[in-house]
Symmetry: C2
């Protein structure tokens, strides 16, 4: 009897504290990926180019096609690897002719990038459609001209048929249309997690340690930048020309105001190394460093470990990706150029 009362009290306390946590999370502008499919579609869709199954399938092919690069060896998936955390796991992105990113910038994850308010580390593009045009052309990435990309795609009857199927028979297969289609696929790469289940009202979706970690995450002030659906993705990040510089790693200057985009924390346990310059391999080091630079506060080892525990709840459920079968090159497909 006594045990029973105690247990009930514990359940009530736990339940109450979960409610508090939920309410505090909402106050801190932490938002879940909606569990309702229609609501989610509204969030990720592009009204100018609505998502359809045919566009997704075609976009997936293009995403995995290394022939869009100058060398024929590098695809979107090379650096934004869907088998890893949606990135490449190396400090600075590498590309055509093994060239490292000249500013020593780390490849950001493509998963949940649809929720970012801005794309690229300097936030220069707001939309995935514009973003997708960048790496294909960048000399140290895929190093292709728009003409090469369009030339590759239009040289294969299967791709032409796919574009007609996706956009209608009068479609013009331009570089921009190709990038738009890749972006459509990327818009669907959304990974809901236990954290979302919790925010969506499933109180026991998080372990006790994860709830404690979320509490620490809120209380230490991490949420001042890592908020919204992506827990990041906006330009309210630290000023690298200010008090702190990653002086020895790259020469990245951020945007016009010296600002760097806040990265998402979703799947963060799977996307080491960390920061725009890939400086830290250990999450606890990254957490403590952010406390010091951004929040002007010491985050203890125990607090960092608690926050790291919460990050495990951000490991998302990834829809199975069936590897596309790419159409075969034809005699008019531009040849790979490895130089």
């Amino acid at each position: 009897m006594y045990t029973k009362i105690l247990l009930s009290a514990a359940i009530i306390t736990s339940s109450l504290s979960a409610s508090d946590l939920l309410s505090d999370a909402k106050k801190a502008d932490l938002k879940p990926i909606p569990s309702d499919k229609k609501e989610l579609l509204k969030l990720i869709d592009n009204p100018k180019n609505p998502i359809t199954d045919r566009k997704i399938e075609l976009g997936k092919k293009l995403y995995f096609d290394p022939r869009l690069s100058k060398s024929g060896f590098i695809s979107c998936n090379s650096c934004h690897n869907l088998s890893e955390g949606g990135d490449d796991g190396i400090p600075a992105a590498i590309g055509h002719m093994w060239t490292a990113n000249p500013h020593h910038l780390n490849s950001p994850t493509v998963y949940n990038s649809v929720f970012f308010a801005s794309q690229f580390w300097d936030g220069r593009d707001p939309h995935l459609e514009a973003q997708a045009q960048g790496p294909m052309q960048a000399a140290p990435e895929m190093s292709a001209t728009p003409e090469h990309v369009a030339g590759v795609v239009t040289s294969m009857p299967q791709y032409v048929a796919d574009f007609k199927g996706a956009y209608g028979k009068d479609v013009k297969i331009t570089f921009e249309k190709i990038a738009d289609t890749i972006a459509t696929f990327e818009r669907t790469l959304v990974t809901p997690s236990a954290y979302d289940d919790f925010l969506n009202g499933k109180k026991n979706a998080l372990t006790k340690a994860q709830k404690d970690g979320l509490r620490t995450f809120i209380d230490k002030g991490c949420v001042s930048c890592h908020n919204g659906i992506a827990l990041g993705g906006e330009m309210n990040a630290f000023n690298i020309t200010g008090t702190y510089k990653f002086q020895d790693v790259g020469d990245f200057k951020g945007d016009a105001n010296g600002m760097v985009k806040v990265p998402t924390l979703r799947n963060i346990t799977q996307t080491a190394p960390y920061f725009h310059n890939g400086q830290f391999w250990e999450l606890k080091d990254a957490i403590k460093e952010m406390g010091r630079i951004q929040l002007g506060t010491d985050i203890s080892d125990a607090e960092a470990a608690s926050i790291e525990e919460f990050f495990k709840a951000l490991e998302g459920r990834k829809d199975p990706v069936v590897l596309p079968q790419l159409p075969a090159s034809t005699s008019t497909t531009p040849k790979p150029d490895l130089k």
Copy 2:
């Protein structure tokens, strides 16, 4: 009535000629991939390390894991791309630090490689298990030491659990065991096609043009080297130190007898460029060149086109490959080294 008789005669003729073709194909040692699953398993299995679902799944993860390479950027799938024809579509293989294969050797397809009597262009290994050890270590490919590969795999609890699940709790996770597991996955990459359906008795599996092409293929003597299940894969190929040299492309000397392996013709429409040195982009050029060098005969444009038509019947049905989700690196995972 008259029409009816004529039609029946045509059907009988067609049926008879299909039977002749089938019988001639068998005489020429052309063999189908068995349609019977058990019979197929017996052909592709390794009695020393029997295929199981768990080994296949684990092998697939390893096949797609770029962290097995020194740089963390190159996986088996980079050069033997399952989205393309099981190869990379570039003349000479490229790898660590963008190094081209020093002998200008073309990446062979992994699809149906289980049917090859020997692996590598010089046929130096008979089995996929031995083959899989090569590219991981080769300096211009994945450039990893066996210690690196084993170190990466054993650093991740999920991989360790996967190995225990596949081989039992006392498994020793060595470089050799890792290569064996990759090979197990590769053994399953078999692509039956319309050609197999025809050889297995489905007389209308091939179009008229494809049957004519098969007839040309047999009559011109291509089958003297391109035979067996793989339509190739043995060492009875041309002697590159003999009358003909690809003098300007690479310095590959073949095996001890100057011989080069006969490549498979399965999915050949998807694996340009052709020959061990990737010299030809067009199938018809490759076909005519082989006639000249190997058979000492002229193959006309019409005959080459007919053979090429037959090759379309070798485009195989590929089982859908769901992209694996790789375990996250840990603090003990060897760091990528891009130099």
